[in-house]
């Protein structure tokens, strides 16, 4: 039995997915990204091995992706997170034509070609307050847990929109909402709606229509998903483990390369 690990070293968290040679997921791991990429990747990989019930040395191939993909000495190959996200989403939803990836640092809209290849993509602009890190910061400011805001946002009665495109000014806007005594639920809901609107126009830039697969850590927030459902015409498909899709895609692509390589070995006289 061969095992391939996909490790996604993102700005917020480092995710690992281990698959076997049937491309079946055996384990997942996650660790908060910190200074030392190698160490973080190690922690995340260990967690995944534990879940898979295998030893580290049983891993045959490692594909790294994400911001820190080049910082992983033990990798066999590095692939960009856009390519991996597309491939992972395709594996989970073979019909999908569009992918929305909302991570800590940036938001990506991807249009797919056959077989889950990237056709075109659009990453959020510089200065854009369109990412998960932004939501995290406002949670800290509003003194609520990240995992609560999803549901909290659903209680909103009078959502407070955020107009500014700059994350810093958007935070100021939120502070002003607070100063005006607006409720936390309304503010967070407003944030979700604004992010959804921005994501939508990003998707439109790659010709979006119909259904979209929503991946990345932010997809874990119910409020965000609902906000998207309200604004997007088509269906929003959210995988069970949205944060791990990119790592999963890396693992699948890694497996492809690994099989090619393995075949090359066997064929040798």
């Amino acid at each position: 039995m061969a095992y391939v690990a996909g490790i996604d070293l993102g700005a917020g968290a480092t995710k690992t997915v281990i698959i076997d040679d049937e491309a079946v997921v055996r384990g997942r791991g996650m660790a908060r990204t910190r200074a030392d990429f190698e160490a973080v990747a190690g922690r995340s990989l260990d967690a995944a091995c534990e879940e898979a019930g295998i030893e580290l040395d049983e891993i045959d191939y490692v594909a790294s992706t994400g911001l820190g993909r080049y910082s992983l000495a033990s990798r066999d190959i590095q692939i960009t997170d856009l390519t991996c996200g597309a491939r992972g989403a395709h594996a989970l939803f073979p019909e999908s034509q569009f992918v929305l990836d909302m991570g800590a640092q940036c938001t990506r809209a991807i249009a797919l070609r056959d077989g889950g290849k990237v056709k075109t993509f659009r990453t959020n602009e510089k200065c854009a307050a369109g990412s998960g890190g932004f939501l995290e910061r406002i949670c800290r400011y509003l003194e609520v847990q990240l995992d609560q805001i999803g549901d909290l946002s659903l209680e909103a009665k009078n959502p407070q929109p955020i107009s500014s495109v700059c994350a810093v000014l958007a935070e100021s806007e939120i502070i002003n909402h607070v100063s005006e005594g607006k409720t936390v639920a309304d503010i967070i809901c407003g944030a979700h709606e604004s992010l959804a609107a921005r994501a939508l126009s990003q998707l439109r830039m790659v010709g979006f229509s119909g259904a979209v697969v929503f991946i990345g850590g932010v997809a874990l927030q119910q409020g965000m998903v609902v906000a998207c459902r309200n604004q997007f015409s088509g269906e929003i498909q959210v995988p069970e483990h949205p944060a791990h899709v990119v790592a999963y895609g890396a693992a699948i692509l890694g497996l492809q390369r690994f099989e090619k390589r393995a075949w090359a070995c066997i064929s040798r006289p």
Partner: protein, 277 residues
Amino acid sequence: MEYAVGIDVGSTQTKAVALDTARAIVARVLIDSGANVVRAGKRAMDEIQNAGIAREDIRFVVGTGYGRYKIEAGDTQVTEISCHARGAHMLFPGTRTVIDMGGQDTKAIKISAEGDVIDFCMNDKCAAGTGRFLTGAAEVLGLTLDEIGEISLRGTKPVRLTSVCTVFVESDILSHLAQNKGVEDILAGVHEAIATRTIGLVRRVGMDPEITFTGGVARNIGMVRALEAKLHVTLNASPEAQYCGALGAALYAMDHVMAEKHPSAGVSAELPVWVDE
């Protein structure tokens, strides 16, 4: 006894100062603003009273800071620009230039010998380089705001940052770490970058000494040194610095108390007072 109180409701912390008619500080309060400014204003007032100042003796309350219109006890509001200028002038009478680094924006204020604002500049629409950037940097490195200043002083080869935009501090710092740059050097770079950006602001109003550094960040020794290195002067910075806005507000409040006592001065009618909006 008669007292005047100034309350500065900032984006992160709320400060309050009470003065007696001799303009001596008789009480001082510092609490987290939290997500409810109305509550923050109330709590500040309570704390002042806990410090032994009876409510009925508080004759006038001036609110300042972003939450100034939400302070129920506030008789009037004055912007933190005017307040910081006036507070800095009381703490350091020689002050001619005030640098206030807050979470939302950075201000450079030129003041007269009497402590009046002559000219001021705030970071333009692009909020890069405000105190928030330091918070972001500290978070990525898993440090607290109070630590980073000290650490930055140990940096020998400050790194170069792409921008001082909070949105990019994370990836920027992570890629430095990926290149095995030391935390000291990264933080030194962070402080230097913000200092450079701030100097640009100070230049707009001229850099007449003495220069007083107010606001919460003034407690960050790394920031103080970085600014001094660029300004080639020693800054006035004291632990009182973070109360500067509240102190200024209290001084304005005392103007009103005095004006009431001596209507002949007839000035208080001139002081800006908004019907609550």
